[in-house]
């Protein structure tokens, strides 16, 4: 009886997500074992490639919990990367540039949060304008691709190429050399942020306030929560996390350009939704979102390993998954309403 009531729709969705990831990954391992898909490094590579996305999805999950949305994230990453690249090219210290990027993230998020929380403008419109602002600003800063090289910033270059070895799961390559699996610093940043968000959502007043507002904003206000402020903080967190994600992203790409991270907002939203975060707010957690990112990463990885599939397949598959999950959510919601 008790276990039955605990198995509600949300838990089922999360289990479906985790199951889907396992099936996808296992499928990849079986189909492409000859191409090294089953090595631990393949999985680690998914983490490395998607470290930025993990950070962004954490922030987006917070915003979506309050029944909002933030589609400015991809463009903000492009702007941050461009600022990093241009700043370092003109000789500034990497640490200074990182701090600047973080401050910009806070300021930008605060402004968006103010518009959503205090002026009650639809989040979608606000963040869409934010997206265009950042994308345009990137071009205002520099229209060309700017690379970060060993010359521009030794420190940043070293971070980007640092390897953190994993003591197990290695393999012999076809030349008989033992390959030690590794991750990059960006993965550490992303996983720490994930852990932080998980704890914050579960164990702080602020975290529970996000859930309360998404569950029922009117009730939350009546119970004495400052809805406007909490909403603003959600958008601030999203932009800060996104800026941290931008640093991870820059560590991976070592460049800034106008067209960077286009459509990343879509990947982040679909990851969160596939991970069981409800678009109507109040339900979801970052663990689910993390698996959402892994599913997206696995799909890309499979398509890449296959080598023959067109590059647009990951997009289409992600959208198809998003479609399936949104419809499932909607059907669950309708069933619940009918019961009442």
């Amino acid at each position: 009886m008790k276990t039955k009531s605990k198995m509600n729709g949300h838990t089922i969705l999360l289990l479906i997500t985790i199951g889907l990831f396992i099936v996808l990954y296992a499928g990849g391992c079986i189909a492409y074992s000859s191409r090294g898909f089953s090595h631990l490094q393949t999985f680690l590579n998914i983490l490395i490639t998607n470290s930025g996305l993990i950070c962004v999805t954490c922030g987006l999950t917070v915003v979506m919990l309050t029944a909002g949305i933030d589609i400015s994230v991809g463009a903000l990453i492009a702007m941050d990367c461009m600022i990093l690249a241009v700043g370092m090219r003109s000789g500034h210290n990497a640490i200074v540039m990182i701090l600047i990027v973080l401050v910009i993230g806070i300021a930008f998020g605060m402004f968006q949060g103010f518009l959503v929380g205090y002026l009650e403008i639809q989040p979608f419109i606000v963040t869409m304008a934010g997206m265009f602002f950042c994308r345009g600003m990137t071009a205002v800063i520099c229209t060309e691709q700017v690379s970060i090289t060993e010359k521009t910033s030794k420190l940043f270059y070293d971070w980007a190429n640092a390897k953190i070895n994993i003591p197990f799961g290695g393999y012999l390559n076809n030349k008989g050399k033992y390959m030690v699996p590794y991750i990059r610093p960006s993965v550490v940043i992303a996983l720490l942020l994930l852990l932080f968000t998980y704890l914050m959502l579960k164990y702080t007043k602020l975290g529970r306030a996000f859930y309360a507002i998404g569950g029922n904003a009117v009730s939350a206000a009546m119970m004495g929560l400052n809805v406007k402020k909490v909403k603003m903080v959600a958008y601030m967190l999203s932009s800060i996390f996104c800026s941290i994600g931008a640093i991870c992203y820059a560590l991976n790409t070592m460049a800034g350009s106008v067209s960077q991270a286009t459509g990343l907002e879509m990947d982040a939203i679909s990851s969160a939704v596939i991970g069981g975060t409800l678009l109507t707010g109040g339900v979801g957690n970052v663990i689910g979102s993390f698996f959402g990112v892994l599913i997206n990463g696995t799909i890309s990885s499979i398509v890449k390993t296959n080598g023959k599939l067109a590059s647009s397949w990951p997009n289409i598959l992600t959208a198809a998954l998003l479609f399936v999950f949104i419809v499932i959510q909607s059907v669950f919601a309708m069933m619940r309403n009918r019961k009442k």
Partner: protein
């Protein structure tokens, strides 16, 4: 007394916002032209010009705006209806445009062919095929919004992401060129007038006639204003919402074909890029509330051409096409912030306080 009533009438005129914006843009142009020493009225000059192909066309900045702004104007028609009926926006229109263009070009060139001068199927099949895909996409969005109660922007997010990718798939990741004169017609000229403008005008006229001759306009507004009362009065709210999304898809298809014809190719990655933003902006700039209900099609159309005028002006001022979004973003935020209820309430309180103060003195 009389003066005052004229003033209030202007204040309540529903096209005030778009017309004022348009006038502002013109003013900026005149000042800029005067400042750089050119003829201050060069913005309004229309001349006849010889083309390389020995034709004669109209030329001038206004003509350019009317020509280039046509796709957004076509999209704005559908977007206006969607916003009115469902208080939401269809963000997939740009992507759907691209998909329709790709499908049309794929049909015309044949699958896998990347460049052709002869058509694989009759032109009409390609065109109708492209538009048909647009309608299908609209129906998909409409089903999700009306029957599955999914927030409009989330529902349309699916095609926002997928449509462009499907288009790429249809074109084998290539830019498919259809270098055929008949196909290039839609992006070219009828006599001296740009075809795109004629198509946009036709779309506007047909839609206006439809709104005038059927009860569709009233139905859409009624559903957008009060869906419950509309249901009691015998309207089918869900079906109306479904229909507006379908119509929006149809116009996205038409806009996609015009865009493809303009460059006689299907450049999946770039056709319709960011057009959803322009279309939504047109609706807002047209004085329509993004909260649904009453709409003015004329406002949206003026809004669409105003946006093109802004873009053209920005280019004239030396802003590059990648930088232009900054200004558009600022304009969007200004427009929606002015309309934001808390800000309005704030100003109302302040002016009321002022009146009390004035009365006391």
């Amino acid at each position: 007394m009389n003066n005052k009533s004229v003033l209030t009438r202007i204040k309540n005129w529903n096209l005030l916002l778009p017309v004022v914006s348009l006038l502002l843009v013109m003013a900026v142009n005149i000042i800029h032209d005067a400042a750089i020493g050119a003829n201050p009225l060069s913005f309004f000059m229309i001349t006849l010009r010889q083309t390389t192909g020995n034709g004669t066309i109209l030329y001038g900045r206004i003509i350019d705006i009317l020509n280039r702004g046509s796709e957004v104007a076509i999209l704005a028609i559908g977007m206006t209806l969607v916003v009115s009926s469902s208080a939401g926006t269809d963000i997939s229109v740009g992507s759907v445009m691209s998909l329709c263009a790709s499908f049309c070009c794929m049909l015309l060139a044949g699958y896998g062919v990347s460049s052709t001068t002869t058509l694989a199927v009759p032109l009409i099949v390609g065109i109708l095929g492209g538009i048909f895909i647009g309608v299908l996409c609209g129906m998909f969005n409409g089903t999700l919004v009306a029957y599955f109660h999914i927030q409009p922007m989330v529902a349309t997010l699916i095609l926002f992401s997928a449509a462009r990718a499907i288009g790429l798939l249809l074109c084998n990741d290539l830019i498919v060129y259809v270098r055929n004169e008949a196909f290039g017609f839609f992006g070219g000229y009828i006599g001296v007038i740009p075809t795109a403008f004629v198509i946009a005008a036709l779309c506007i006229i047909v839609t206006s006639l439809f709104l005038k001759k059927t009860a569709m306009g009233m139905y859409i507004q009624s559903v957008g204003i009060n869906p419950k009362a509309s249901r009691i009065a015998g309207l089918n709210s869900k079906r109306m919402i479904f229909m507006t999304y379908t119509v929006c898809g149809l116009f996205a298809g038409i806009a996609g074909i015009v865009a493809a014809s303009r460059i006689t190719s299907a450049d999946s990655n770039n056709i319709g890029l960011y057009f959803e933003m322009d279309a939504i902006l047109s609706v807002a700039l047209g004085g329509n509330s993004l909260g649904g209900g009453k709409f003015s099609l004329a406002g949206s159309i003026i809004g669409a051409y105003t946006i093109q005028a802004i873009t053209t002006t920005l280019y004239a001022l030396g802003v590059s096409s990648t930088q232009a979004p900054v200004f558009k973003a600022i304009i969007v935020i200004l427009i929606v912030a002015i309309q934001a209820p808390p800000l309005r309430a704030f100003f109302k309180r302040r002016s009321a306080a002022k009146q009390v103060k004035g009365a006391a003195v």
